[in-house]
Amino acid sequence: MNKMILYKEWLKTRWLLLGILLAMAALTFYCFLNLAKVVEFRGAGLLWEALVTKETVLTEILRYVPAIAGALLALGQFIPEIQQKRLKLTLHLPYPQGRMLLAMALYGLTALTLLYALQACASAWVLSAWVPGELVARVLKTMAVWYLAGWAGYLFTSALCLEPTWRFRVLILLVAAGLLRLLYLSGIPEAYNGFFPWLLLYVAASAGLLFAGVARFKEGLQD
């Protein structure tokens, strides 16, 4: 049964995931192609100088990609569930409803994590040819917040989809806007190092909004 839950999510999202994967790959490739050109014509020292003396991690073009990917995946997973109130079918399946929703959310989060991990590994692999581990780590620690924004984008978009009442959708949207603003507040590398664990906890806690929305759906609350 667990496999079939994942199978259903896979059927909904496989082409979307492929699209996201290709888009992420293309943008990442484009980003590092530009850097490779800089290295070829001006030397890797320029990358070192930028990473050490300027407020950049060289991959800023990828900043919003994880958040957009997260939101898109959530839409791809949950819009089919709310269209024609298809969620009723899902909730009627002879499977604990909480676990069902958890499995669906974990599918999305896992898929995103794999995509982000792929991008991070590719970035680290390419960068490590040019700069030392300390600078690669700096780039990855900075990008970690963008991935957190991706998970947040996924969870809040999912919550928005599953929420049956406009009042709560507005509240969720406001909080989501605030959180995303916070996650993109500073472009200074490693600015979020100390705060990151708390932000991660908060984003994880926001998963509860999905269950709250479904609970309201089950009470028949709607507009």
Binding site: L11, Q84, K85, K88, L89, H92, P94, K218, E219
Partner: protein, 240 residues
């Protein structure tokens, strides 16, 4: 020995805002019966289905399915209930094969032959998405899934919505034959009352706020000789 009703609703009251849907509604559905819930638009038919399936919390009152409170139906009990949503809503991004593969994993008593028996009648490519099928074809897929689940209770909300007479007839015939042969309990609503005449054992006629009559269909029709069930319904509820 008294057999527990499959469906039982007691003192059911619900409002949408200030609008009363019904107050102190009481009814039961005994095992093995095919019961049709009739009423004009807005009398609470879909509301009742939603309450029974746990998608709506009534203002007050209690309903049970197989003795379990509908607000907390266990997965084991849900396995005994086949549900058809209004409009034959399905996972329309799946194909016939994919949806069968999906559902069969949840129902140990899954009857593959019952499903594919109906699917053979559909003239569709095996990989065709349900979304690309006609209303009638989709209703057959829905019917096939319902039958294959081998459930003890079938709940169908307006099963005839969007179907032409041919498909409606097919649906009714299949459903009755299956229910009677397997001793299933069926609880359904439909806005096309003439379909129910040959299908249901018992009718519950709802009016705004209450149940007008709950009676054997044959007994009701005998009380109004010469009238069809539809005529009797209009007689009971008024023309408009």
């Amino acid at each position: 020995m008294q057999v527990e009703p499959v469906i039982s609703c007691e003192h059911l009251t619900h409002y949408y805002g200030k609008r009363k849907i019904y107050e102190d509604l009481n009814f039961t559905v005994e095992p093995g019966r095919i019961v049709g819930l009739l009423g004009k638009n807005g009398t609470g038919k879909t509301t009742t289905i939603n309450i029974l399936m746990g998608y709506l919390k009534p203002q007050s009152g209690r309903c049970t399915l197989f003795g379990e409170d509908v607000q907390h139906i266990s997965p084991e009990t849900r396995r005994r209930i086949a549900l058809l949503l209004e409009g034959h809503v399905q996972y329309s991004y799946m194909s016939i094969g994919q949806i069968e593969k999906f559902y069969s994993a949840f129902y140990p008593k899954w009857n593959r032959d019952a499903y594919y028996g109906l699917m053979e009648k559909l003239k569709v490519a095996p990989g065709q998405k349900i979304a690309r099928m006609s209303n009638g074809q989709r209703s057959q897929v829905a019917l096939g899934l319902i039958l294959a689940q081998n459930a003890d209770l079938l709940v169908l909300d307006d099963f005839s919505l969007g179907l032409d007479p041919g498909y409606r007839r097919l649906f009714c015939e299949y459903l009755r034959d299956y229910a009677k042969a397997e001793g299933k309990t069926v609880f359904l609503t439909s806005h096309i009352i003439q379909d129910l005449e040959k299908l249901v054992d018992e009718v519950i006629v709802m009016d705004y706020g209450s149940i007008l009559v709950q009676e054997e269909a044959q007994t009701l029709m005998a009380r109004y000789p010469g009238l069809t069930l539809e005529d009797i319904f209009i007689e009971l509820t008024g023309k408009y």
